[in-house]
């Protein structure tokens, strides 16, 4: 994991699967690291993933702890977080 992230490890779930990430990891980075490149489906059904990485484009939106449409590139992982993409 990135050198910027600190060494403490957090446990969370991505589409129900347990995952471990370094503290300081962005949700978008955690999801990509788990092998999931598709974050949502566009209105015509195309697969989409993060584009801008800085909270502008809304392509990386997914559900966090039951709250839909969260921009995963702007949110840092927390212990026990439940993350789900809408294509799971």
């Amino acid at each position: 994991m990135s050198s910027e992230a600190t060494q403490r490890t957090l446990s969370l779930t991505i589409n129900g699967q347990p995952a471990q990430v370094a503290e300081g990891t962005l949700v978008a980075a955690a999801v990509l690291a788990s092998g999931q490149t598709v974050f949502r489906q566009s209105i015509s059904g195309q697969p989409r993933g993060p584009l801008c990485g800085m909270g502008i484009c809304f392509e990386c939106r997914l559900s966090i702890d039951g709250q839909a449409h969260r921009r995963s590139c702007q949110i840092v992982c927390r212990e026990g977080m439940e993350i789900s993409t809408d294509v799971a």
Binding site: S3, A28, L51
Partner: protein, 419 residues
């Protein structure tokens, strides 16, 4: 909702905003706060360096921020100005209203994305976008990356990705060598340290093919990116890759300035010598007033901060330095001007508005942006035209200034109702 009040409120915690906040806070009695929607301060260039700064300038400024008694409100998105002297923020903990006497806008810039076939595939990201994700913990070790688009950011991104273990195959800069050379020669006379920076980056990219006059014409892959087709205008070839990091320059984040009624010209906020906009007690600095990079942001930020704190004397001492930074910005714009061929990359099937899946074929038939919006919903999705607005401006010559109304960011209904 209780109202917190500050003498000086800064929006944006990148270099310009932090410099402005420090300059104002160091004048003593002023209560100063900085708001930013990112999880921590630093903006894009110093992203992730709040804990352990990597560059000397980041170390120096982040230390100055710590030493000054300013309030940092990270993870807070400005969504509205309900009345003059107040901003409404959305935070994880719900809505929050902040009152201010003077407001300094340092909202920075986003990347310019231009559509080409299959640019919507997962793993096609911005250039700064991929760097931001890697700084945020995305493992890039051993991944094959093509960096493409335009601007000095490309080299910096390539170096950063490589330091994290990426296999950067190609950096494709659309500007021709002749323009880059003229830019470099000009800099050698006016800003030698810039040339040294560029040469330093270059030296860290041995083994990477650095191609000028080269641009992407299509991404390809089944459900995710597998390769990108590049061209230099004479021939086309494929580059297999895991990521395409592609940005064609920067676009100022004008939504909040426009909401406040600030005057603009050519896509940037206009300011007087003290960085004040045409709105009294509202200042703008950094990329908002013209794309110019770190030095311009720092000096303009300080001028805005001193000025907002009533220290015009200290602000005016920095005018010469600002002049130099602005000359660099002007040269930058000329060297990296976008080539005509980029207007023709999208085929009729290529999606331009990613939120509403509006294709280039549908947009080409529209006379103007307003009609396009009404007929196709282009620019009406969650990003509110932040991505497609600048693209349609470049492709079709439509005015690039967004029509802004509150809330300037999608906001949870309960947070609007709570007030």
């Amino acid at each position: 909702m209780s109202l917190e009040r500050y003498d000086v409120l800064v929006v944006g915690a990148g270099p310009a905003g932090l410099a402005a906040a420090c300059a104002a806070a160091e004048q003593g009695s002023h209560r100063v706060a900085v708001v930013d929607d990112n999880p921590s301060a630093g903006g894009q260039i110093w992203r992730g360096e709040a804990g352990r700064p990597k560059s000397p300038s980041a170390a120096q400024w982040l230390e100055r921020v710590r030493a000054s008694r300013l309030t940092m409100l990270a993870g807070a998105q400005v969504v509205d100005r309900p009345e003059p002297g107040r901003l409404l923020l959305e935070t994880d903990a719900g809505p929050r209203e902040i009152g201010y006497q003077k407001l300094i806008l340092a909202t920075g810039a986003r990347e310019l994305f231009l559509p080409f076939p299959a640019w919507t595939l997962p793993n096609v990201t911005g250039a700064g976008g991929l760097q931001a994700l890697v700084k945020g913990g995305l493992p890039i070790q051993g991944k094959r990356v093509v960096v493409a688009g335009s601007g000095p950011l490309l080299l910096a991104v390539a170096v950063a990705l490589r330091e994290h273990g990426a296999i950067v195959r190609v950096v494709a800069e659309q500007a021709p060598w002749s323009k880059l050379l003229r830019f470099g020669v000009g800099l050698a006379f006016t800003a030698r340290e810039k040339v040294q920076q560029a040469v330093g980056l270059w030296g860290k990219l041995s083994g990477v093919r650095l191609l000028s006059g080269t641009w992407p014409v299509a991404a390809e892959g089944n459900g995710r990116l597998e390769q990108v087709t590049l061209t230099n205008g004479r021939r086309r070839w494929h580059e297999p890759c895991d990521y395409l990091a592609c940005g064609f320059g920067l676009v100022a984040n004008l939504e909040l300035p426009l909401l406040l009624g600030c005057g603009t010209a050519g896509g940037f906020v206009t300011v007087d010598s003290m960085q004040q906009t045409n709105q009294v007690d509202v200042y703008a600095c950094g990329e908002l007033t013209g794309i110019g990079g770190l030095e311009k942001s720092l000096v303009e930020g300080q001028i805005a901060g001193y000025s907002a704190a009533g220290r015009e004397d200290r602000a005016s001492e920095l005018f010469a330095e600002r002049e130099k930074a602005r000359r660099f910005a002007g040269a930058l714009g000329q060297a990296f001007a976008l080539r005509e061929e980029l207007r023709k990359l999208a085929t009729p099937e290529t999606i331009v508005c990613r939120c509403e899946d509006v294709t280039a074929g549908r947009l080409a038939a529209q006379p103007d942006a307003r009609t396009a919006k009404l007929q196709t919903r282009c620019g009406m999705g969650p990003c509110q035209g932040r991505v497609c607005g600048a693209a349609t401006s470049f492709l079709y010559g439509w005015p690039c200034e967004p029509s802004v109304r509150p809330p300037i960011f999608p906001v949870a209904t309960e947070n609007m109702v709570a007030r």
